[in-house]
């Protein structure tokens, strides 16, 4: 069932796949330019940020166009639709992690023993970035699946409030709260942080199931 849904998404939203493919081509092209480390990192980051958002963009588009209701008319359970979205986030995130590692490996090979342009995306940093993104997907997903784009706005509100207070009361830190918190937790409690975020992702999935169950189409 999930495979059928995935195939359907790929066929239905093939236009949305143009951008990740473009990013992939750019990354591969940039690897050739061994001295352009920062540009390469920038491209990978764009990929990291954009590509896992795709499933959410797809879902939002279907919700606004009414094709989500068409999907629910098919013999598909709501659980399957929620599972598909989470699976897609993980797949795309995994794809970007794999690409980052591949890029690093190729860059290392090309640079041999010289300065490595891709050094910033070493394994632990890529993994850390993946975990952080996982957190930011896990947190708004139930609201998003229930309320569509309105859910994203609602989920953004507390983050904006927290960041505003943080800038106001701790200007000396000079960085966003979640960036500071992520850095602090990663260095102090790397293990529990990883497990915590994975647990949050799992909890988010369970809450999403419940939230999507009561959605009207």
């Amino acid at each position: 069932m999930l495979l059928n849904l995935l195939k359907r998404d790929l066929r239905l939203h093939r236009d949305a796949l143009v951008i990740p493919v473009l990013i992939l081509i750019l990354i591969l092209g940039a690897i050739g330019m061994a001295d352009d480390g920062p540009a390469l990192l920038g491209l990978v980051l764009i990929g990291f940020l954009y590509v896992p958002i795709l499933p959410l963009a797809i879902h939002a588009r279907e919700d606004s166009q009414g094709t989500l209701a068409d999907l629910m008319v098919l013999p598909v359970s709501r659980r399957a639709v929620v599972s598909l979205r989470y699976l897609e986030v993980l797949l795309f995130l995994g794809l970007m992690l794999a690409l980052a590692h591949l890029g690093t490996w190729i860059a290392l090979c090309m640079a041999a023993h010289k300065a490595v342009p891709f050094y910033v995306m070493d394994r632990s940093k890529a993994f850390g970035l993946g975990l952080t993104l996982l957190f930011f997907f896990a947190y708004p997903m139930p609201l998003f699946l229930r309320l569509g784009l309105k859910g994203i706005s609602l989920a953004s509100l507390p983050i904006i409030v927290i960041e505003t207070f943080h800038w106001f009361f701790f200007p000396q830190r000079g960085e966003p709260f979640f960036h500071w918190l992520g850095g602090y937790l990663t260095t102090t409690y790397p293990g529990p942080l990883g497990f915590g975020i994975l647990a949050l992702f799992a909890l988010s999935y369970l809450v999403s199931l419940k939230a999507f169950e009561g959605k009207d189409f």
Binding site: K7, R11, Q65, G66, M72, L74
Partner: protein, 303 residues
């Protein structure tokens, strides 16, 4: 005949609208027409059956099983056409069949191709570029290509030209030649009901005000025409609706053997058409006698 769909005390409230205490049965081998004004709850009822809306209370049995619990697997046996099909707009008609097919074990590609040819659908044209009529035909072709036992058609003839409308209605008749299948369709067009429906259900403001076999319903009601003296007669107690025109009063009353004796002198009775039944049941009947409004007056007929 077995009931493919049974609805008991179904209630759904959202916003200002409420579908209340709806009871409906759709038996195999029959076509049931659901009729009512815009906003009466026809589409809501179909969405509830499909599980697109969770009900507040009540029970829906599909093929003898609880639709709320077993919904996704039961939907394999349902073909659904919505009022304004959106489907998956950027796909071509031919691709739509390929997208939908894997979800139905009973999908018949040959049947889909045949229906596309019958409906003269351009397989290579994107769905969103089709006319309203062609969109409806595409949705019908998809709904009919997996050998569904129950067809739920939400205004399937809207936007179709008279020729195609006739074809769609004939198609419904053809479907129920297999006595294991049934059709529930909603419409505003009473001639469609007259042509194909075995059973009729009239929804008014979220309530089912009349339901039953079409022929029995037509025999159960009578139109009485006359002057104001009708209101003073015992007929008024048997009246469901009425209107005043320049020619006099027309009342829709429950038929009985004694009704002829109740008729005042000069009053006439005649058999109502299906349109009359829908018209008089669908109207607001709460106005007071004597209240004039826009040259026409509806008559209070308390039962």
């Amino acid at each position: 005949m077995t009931n493919l769909l049974e609805i008991r005390n179904l209630t759904k409230r959202y916003g200002f609208f409420a579908l209340q205490d709806v009871d409906l049965e759709v038996a195999s081998g029959t076509i049931t027409g659901l009729v009512g004004a815009n906003g009466a709850g026809k589409s809501t009822l179909m969405k509830l059956v499909l599980g697109l809306l969770p009900p507040d209370s009540g029970e829906i049995q599909l093929f003898g099983q609880n639709a709320l619990r077993e919904g996704p697997s039961l939907r394999r046996r349902i073909g659904f056409v919505q009022e304004s099909p959106t489907l998956f707009g950027n796909l071509r008609v031919g691709e739509l069949g390929q997208v939908v097919a894997p979800f139905y074990p009973t999908w018949n590609s040959a049947s889909f191709q045949r229906l596309c040819r019958t409906f003269e659908l351009p397989l290579r044209t994107p769905f969103h570029k089709l006319s309203q009529g062609s969109r409806m035909k595409t949705a019908l072709a998809l709904a009919l290509s997996h050998d569904a036992d129950l067809l739920l058609l939400d205004e399937p003839t809207s936007g179709l030209d008279p020729l195609m409308r006739r074809e769609v209605l004939d198609l419904m008749l053809e479907i129920i030649q297999d006595e294991g299948k049934a059709v529930l369709f909603s419409t505003h067009i009473t001639t469609d009901l007259e042509r194909v429906a075995d059973h009729v259900a009239i929804l008014k403001q979220g309530r089912l005000v009349l339901a039953g076999a079409k022929d029995e319903l037509l025999e159960s009601w009578v139109l009485v025409k006359g002057g104001d003296e009708l209101l003073a007669s015992p007929l008024r107690e048997r009246c469901r609706g009425g209107e005043r025109t320049e020619l006099g009063l027309t009342l829709l009353c429950e038929a009985s053997e004694t009704i002829a004796k109740m008729l005042p002198e000069g009053a006439l009775q005649e058999r109502p058409s299906l349109e009359d039944l829908v018209y008089f049941h669908g109207r607001e009947l709460a106005l007071d006698i004597g209240q004039q409004a826009r040259g026409q007056m509806e008559v209070s007929c308390s039962r």
